[in-house]
């Protein structure tokens, strides 16, 4: 049973040591921490994390992949580092003070509908009280200085995601088109669809709340909670 779902983004700059003297993502991290606080307050038996990656898989643990992106600290061997999406999740869970059981899985960036559905079904069918943490970003082509430059279509596409998350509309997430998502560098499409399927399979009503939706660096970030409730 899924007791609650949280959506957080996974830009490297959420890892505090990567942005130098200034904490450029303080507001975003605060929203993430608040969302995770609401999730862990429901005392789940396990937090299941799902995030995008090059390939699907399960990750028992590993280091937050800081050194691959910068910093000056210890360099962890590549095989021991988590994928970025899961590494940011690990850090956010630590920041929220959660020390309970965690299961981590990745979904391929280009996962098919069948694949996201299968992953969602597995999560929904898991025994115990499950807190679901979905790691995913919106488009990265939202301005001349955005990582992917400007593509006007990004605004409409991201607005669709925003509305779905704000409304608890899992069908909206399932409707995200993989083609434009890839072109617009939407790093959360597959993970959002795993979420949509998981919530649909679990058949529970949710109380949706959007805590953050902004693009301070040309990439769209969302923070949302869908906690179990009466709708």
């Amino acid at each position: 049973m899924i007791v609650g779902t949280v959506v957080c983004p996974h830009p490297p700059l959420l890892l505090r040591e990567l942005t130098g003297g200034q904490d450029v993502a303080a507001e975003l991290r605060k929203a993430c921490t608040e969302a995770l606080g609401a999730l862990t307050a429901l005392t789940p038996d396990v937090v299941v994390v799902v995030g995008g990656h090059d390939a699907p898989g399960e990750h028992a643990g590993g280091a937050v992949p800081v050194r691959g992106f910068g910093g000056t600290g210890e360099r962890a061997p590549r095989e021991r580092a988590l994928p970025l999406s899961l590494g940011v999740a690990r850090r956010l869970l630590d920041g929220a003070g959660y020390s309970g059981p965690v299961e981590m899985l990745t979904v391929a960036w280009d996962a098919s509908a069948a694949e996201t559905e299968a992953a969602g079904a597995r999560i929904a069918g898991r025994s115990g009280r499950v807190g679901l943490l979905v790691m995913g970003d919106g488009g990265a082509r939202r301005g001349l200085r955005a990582p992917g430059y400007l593509d006007e279509r990004a605004f409409g596409f991201d607005e669709g995601i925003r509305r779905s998350l704000a409304a608890g509309d899992w069908t909206g997430l399932l409707g995200l088109d993989p083609g434009p998502a890839e072109e617009l560098m939407v790093a959360g499409r597959a993970a959002f669809q795993v979420m949509g399927h998981a919530v649909a399979f679990s058949g529970t009503l949710v109380r949706p709340e959007l805590l953050y939706a902004d693009d301070p660096f040309g990439v769209m970030y969302f923070v949302a909670t869908w906690l179990r409730g009466t709708g």
Binding site: P11, P12, L13, E17, L18, T19, G20, G21, Q22, V24, F69, G70, T72, A140, A146, P147, F217, G218, V219
Partner: protein, 286 residues
């Protein structure tokens, strides 16, 4: 570890020492801070720009009119007292080779004696010990103050600089100077030709590896001018290049005319070395 005016600085903390001349004839500023008003303004400005230390001097290094101890004191002692009163926390260094002058400025509130002529007056180290202030131990090759190098040669200039400055530092400590407040300085251009100063820069790691904190004084000097064939006033870029190399090799204190530019170079090199985080990194991380 470096300790000045009771504050401790780790080996990776670079300090900027701003030059404040109380002379009518120094080579770079040509008397700009000879009068009290401009001199205090210079101190206020360099503090505002982030200088950690001011280095006050009453006699230019180059040959010229002879300045006795009384005149040297007249130029700087009251000024040191005035700076101390206005800036209680500022580290004040005084550039002098004379023990009698050192004593007077320590009584006026100096924290560091910059013995730029390499122990010419052995009494200066004793004054440093007596007042519990720091001492900069420089390498001049044993020359008389205010003389120019003429046909100087060394079997190995870096070896000579290391041996002599370390010996001066060890002597100072034996007299009672805090080992964390004794610095060594290869003294670019002092008793050296341009080749010597370039080699000292290239091999500065041999000085920093002694473990004594290293001060370098590179600012707008002739070795930069000769290397780039540029007159005084056009040597900032070359000075900053030498600054970057010294920073890479671990020098800790930089005696300079230009504070802002030096600070930027030191911050940049510290970030490259990985001992100082960049100010704000977002590029590629969103």
């Amino acid at each position: 570890m470096l300790r000045l005016r009771g504050r401790e600085y780790g080996a990776d903390t670079a300090l900027v020492m701003a030059i404040v001349n109380r002379t009518p004839d120094s080579f770079y500023d040509k008397g700009a801070t000879w009068d009290d008003g401009p001199a205090f303004e210079r101190v206020r400005r360099v503090v505002d720009e982030g200088a950690d230390i001011v280095d006050i001097g009453g006699i230019k290094a180059a040959p010229g009119e002879e300045i006795g101890a009384d005149e040297e004191k007249r130029r700087i002692v009251d000024f040191v007292a005035g700076v101390r009163a206005e800036f209680p926390d500022l580290v004040i260094s005084v550039d002098t080779w004379r023990a009698s002058v050192g004593r007077a400025v320590c009584e006026a509130g100096a924290d560091l004696l910059n013995d730029a002529w390499g122990g010419y007056d052995p009494g200066l180290a004793e004054v440093a010990a007596e007042f519990g202030v720091g001492l900069v131990c420089t390498h001049t090759g044993g020359v008389t103050p205010r003389t120019r190098p003429h046909r100087v040669h060394y079997e190995d200039v870096v070896r000579d600089a290391v041996d002599r400055t370390v010996a001066l530092a060890e002597r100072a400590v034996s007299l009672g100077v805090d080992p964390a407040s004794a610095l060594i300085d290869p003294a670019h251009d002092f008793g050296k030709n341009t080749w010597h100063s370039l080699e000292l820069t290239r091999r500065l790691g041999e000085m920093t590896s002694t473990g004594w904190p290293v001060l370098v004084s590179l600012s707008n000097k002739d070795f930069v001018g000769e290397t780039l064939d540029l007159p005084v006033g056009e040597r900032l870029t070359g000075t900053l290049a030498a600054t970057a190399v010294c920073a890479w090799l671990g020098a800790q204190v930089y005696r300079v005319h230009e504070v802002v530019e030096t600070r930027q170079v030191l911050d940049m090199v510290a970030a490259i070395r990985g001992v100082r985080p960049p100010a704000r990194t977002v590029r590629g991380l969103a």
